[in-house]
Amino acid sequence: MRIHFKTGYGQDIRLFEDSREAVQNALLILAAVSAPWWLDEYMLGEVTYVLIWILAGLGLMILAGHTGQPSLGHGAFLACGAYMEVILLEAGVPFVLSLPLAGLFAGVVGAVVAIPALRMSGIYLAIATLAFGIMTEDIIILLTPWTGGIEGVFTPTISLLGIEIDRYGDPDRFYWLCLFVVILITVGYKNILRSPTGRAFTAIRDSEVSARAMGVNVARMKTLAFGLSCFVTGLAGALLAHYLTAFNYEAFLILISIQLLLMVTVGGLGSIHGAYYGAIVIGLLPVVIATLRQEISDFLGAGNSSVPGMETAIFAVIIVAFIIYEPLGIYGRWTKIRIWLELFPLARKDMFRRQKSYLKTERMK
């Protein structure tokens, strides 16, 4: 086990715990930046897609993982970002401005949605956001003049300070753009977590009463969490618009929202890593299933025809397994494996045993 001898307060607030972690992250970024040189075009496209999902997942993680406010309708904010991006670009706003503005729009919508959501908690919030997510597709169609409704819209090509970035024409540049945004947001996210704002978020998650007694303005902090979360997801939506190049309401069905939530749960709620792991699973799953497709079809006796909805079902089974056996997600499992290895051979068998707890009602009647 690594032991840190701390000699100053600065050591506690560094971005990385020690130099080893810093080097690891630097190597990771280096590998990511150089990806266009060692990945073929198809895989690069897939990785870009994973990056966009990571971004969307980071957004939801702020809200669901760190503030404890589950949202089952985050696809709505993805849509906000995507449509706003197209509208702004078509109005002639340069990309440097349109991207943050699209995110900002989603963030403002999120903060407005937060106002009624503040009065709800737990299950009511989940259901309200679910309803919001379901209504998204209908609202997109109602707003046809702006959203193109069923016909959909085409995303204009990005022109960033004179450089053309086309998703198909210049996949490398688009990949780097997405990577840059993801890294930027991740650093900002880490900064939030190591400062009073992030601590207030987790305080609200763990005990709202207590947070209030510590002087946390819960209403304002929740609104802020909603705003930041939707801003990040909105950014992901704007990038998604460019990734899809053409899309309509079907890109934002309720399934997307649910998939997003399942994704961060599998990755590990309450950790930045979780958003990454979850998105990687989502991104890789279709590839794995494509290779195993024949075997699974045979097993189910469905013959050669592909079974519709199989990807979702397999993903769902993975979720069930994780919820039951590893509620902390991939990140939690990874942490345990690492600790076990570091302590080897001293780890005890029931070191990670979950505490049994009885449920007490939150109802007073």
Binding site: Y9, G10, D12, I13, G188, N191, I192, R194, S195, P196, T197, G198, R199, A200, T202, A203, R205, D206, S207, V209, S210, A211, R212, A213, M214, G215, V216, N217, V218, L224, L228, G270, Q355
Partner: protein, 256 residues
């Protein structure tokens, strides 16, 4: 002038008067204890002071400022910290993290400065950590500094909750049954800490407690409650020998 003054405070839940016309004043620097049987309304008074409940009548003022209608999160910045009867720590965080949240009411930076980790945030983080280390030293929590709350023994959690309160540099500390669930030794430690907080840090303490040994040891003045009404008031001995108090505890009929 008294630090905290409670006047004619009342609240009822579903027709039952949980607190009925209670008045008292807490003087600066003293340890003021509220005793009483279960259901006497002691914790309710705490929840009224920390503004979790709204009183149906009466007033609360702190340092001359009326706080009867303040929001719950406006209480901590005034210099009132509290602990909870059933421990409400942030379970999934470390002790250090809890102590840092305890200082939330002292924060000066905005979220934007936090997201960019500007020098102001960095400076504030340094100061908050320095304060947290002082509290850790004061309450001998060094071994648990980076441990998660979820894995700590009950007695330690009680101390951490007090530490979290202390981290905010309070002028008034509300302790809701600090000795409940503690062993004899732990209770003794608790008594010393309460005395230290009062004498060394100059913090005024308002406490609800059942354990009479602790009450006798640390309290300057004691208020006895039963069924939401105040029964007796005075030093620990005076209150304990008061016939009404004995009757309330032993359940003796008033005319017996």
């Amino acid at each position: 002038m008294s630090l905290l003054s409670v006047r004619d405070l009342s609240i009822s839940f579903g027709g039952v008067k949980a607190v009925d016309n209670v008045s008292f004043d807490v003087e600066p620097g003293e340890v003021f204890t509220i005793v009483g049987p279960n259901g006497a309304g002691k914790s309710t008074i705490f929840n009224l002071i920390s503004r979790i409940y709204d009183p149906s009548s009466g007033s609360i003022s702190f340092d001359g400022q009326d706080i009867t209608r303040s929001r719950a999160d406006e209480i901590a910045p005034l210099g009132i910290a509290r602990t909870f009867q059933n421990i409400e720590l942030f379970e999934h965080s470390t002790v250090m993290h809890n102590l840092l949240v305890g200082q939330h009411s002292r924060r000066t930076t905005s979220w934007l400065s936090d997201a960019l980790f500007l020098p102001a945030t960095r400076r504030e983080e340094h100061n908050m950590r320095e304060k947290a280390e002082q509290v850790i030293d004061f309450l001998d929590l060094q071994p648990y500094r980076d441990k998660l709350i979820a894995g700590l023994p009950y007695g330690v959690r009680k101390v951490v909750e007090i530490a979290r309160g202390l981290a905010s540099d309070p002028r008034l500390l509300l302790l809701d049954e600090p000795a409940s669930g503690l062993s004899v030794e732990e209770t003794q430690d608790m008594a010393f800490w309460i005395e230290d907080m009062q004498k060394d840090l100059g913090i005024t303490i308002l406490m609800v407690e059942h354990d009479m040994s602790l009450v006798n040891q640390v309290s300057d003045r004691v208020l006895a409650l039963a069924d939401g009404r105040s029964l007796a008031f005075g030093t620990a001995e005076e209150v304990q020998s008061h016939p009404d108090v004995i009757a309330a505890y032993l359940g003796v009929e008033e005319d017996a």
